[in-house]
């Protein structure tokens, strides 16, 4: 009990202090001298796309995106590693949401939306992440309605799809390096095409990975939990 009180007190003081400090500091902020938006506008013509956020994500700061995909891969790998063994896996999972017909109708629509988002990314809001997550959402809905259209498991095919986006990204990266260019410096003429290609590949992998993060979450019951694996 005393620990609980102490914990709340510490948390309270810390949060209030952070809140007040932030509030105060924002109030006295100064205006920066560097303006990145201007630099972005200037560099847009050479970026290969006409939507500025896509340009930042896949060209100006494409390295961030590369690492971000690696983060996603890390999560996917842990999901695969900790996934239930076939024995632990529940038999056919029962749908606990009765939305079969709804899902059936909405799925093709979601796939279309995803395709549009991917396509739109180079000129308008949208792109690989939004498209990928919409696709993943569609798969999740299907899964919730009891339709296991997709299973991301130990099969080679699954693993290939999981790393597909990152592989394409990396191949482009290695290609630029081997051509004596800086990492991910696209030739201006190809920039648009390369970005679209990377985005398409990423969309697929993002969708599959996001879905696998949902689908591979362990299902096993405590009671049926296997004998604990040996302590390290």
């Amino acid at each position: 009990m005393r620990r609980r009180v102490a914990r709340h007190a510490v948390a309270g003081v810390a949060s209030v202090a952070v809140g007040i400090a932030l509030w105060q500091a924002i109030g006295v902020r100064s205006i920066p001298t560097v303006s990145l938006p201007a630099l972005v506008r200037e560099a847009m013509p050479a970026s290969g796309v006409s939507h500025d956020i896509t340009a930042v994500l896949l060209n100006f700061r494409s390295y961030d995106t590369l690492l971000e995909i690696a983060v996603l891969l890390a999560a996917a790998v842990v999901a695969l590693a900790l996934r239930d063994t076939p024995r632990e896996r529940m038999p056919a999972s029962q749908p606990y949401l009765i939305l079969d017909t709804f899902v059936w109708r909405i799925t093709p629509l979601l796939v279309l939306v995803a395709a549009y988002l991917l396509w739109a990314g180079s000129t308008r809001p949208g792109g690989a992440f939004q498209a990928g997550s919409v696709l993943a959402g569609a798969a999740v809905l299907l899964r919730l309605s009891g339709l296991a259209v997709l299973s991301v498991d130990d099969r080679l095919a699954s693993r290939v799809v999981v790393v597909f986006g990152l592989s394409v990204f990396l191949l482009v990266a290695a290609g630029t390096l081997l051509a004596g260019q800086p990492l991910l410096a696209y030739p201006p003429a190809w920039a648009g095409a390369l970005i679209l290609m990377i985005e398409a590949a990423l969309t697929l992998s993002i969708a599959v990975v996001l879905f696998s993060l949902f689908d591979n979450a362990p299902q096993s019951r405590p009671a049926a939990a296997p004998a604990q694996r040996g302590e390290a």
């Binding site: 956020i53 606990y96 988002l117 809001p125 949208g126 792109g127 992440f129 939004q130 997550s133 919409v134 993943a136 959402g137 999740v140 919730l144 996001l210 993060l213 949902f214 979450a217 299902q219 019951r221 405590p222």
Partner: protein
Amino acid sequence: MDGEANGMTISLAFDWVLGVVLVATAAGALFSKTLFRGVVLFVVFGLLMALAWVRLQAPDLALAEAAIGAGLTGALLLDAIGHLKSRSVTPSHNDDDAVKGST
């Protein structure tokens, strides 16, 4: 001139309302009695965030927030609740402190 200022006032007023509702929803999500309600409120919070991104002239973020922040995260959390709750042996009237199921 006047109309424009009016428009600004109105939209700022909308922002104020949205801000207050955001905070309120977040508070509900964080401190609700049951976890299920918390997660549902969190999904609502995600959708409101998408709205806020629109107001911040960030439509990409609005899309991403709606799809990932609200949609996928919500699904993940809801599924996890279902899993944790359905397997928990303790009566789950208040899952907040159902930390260690009695065997």
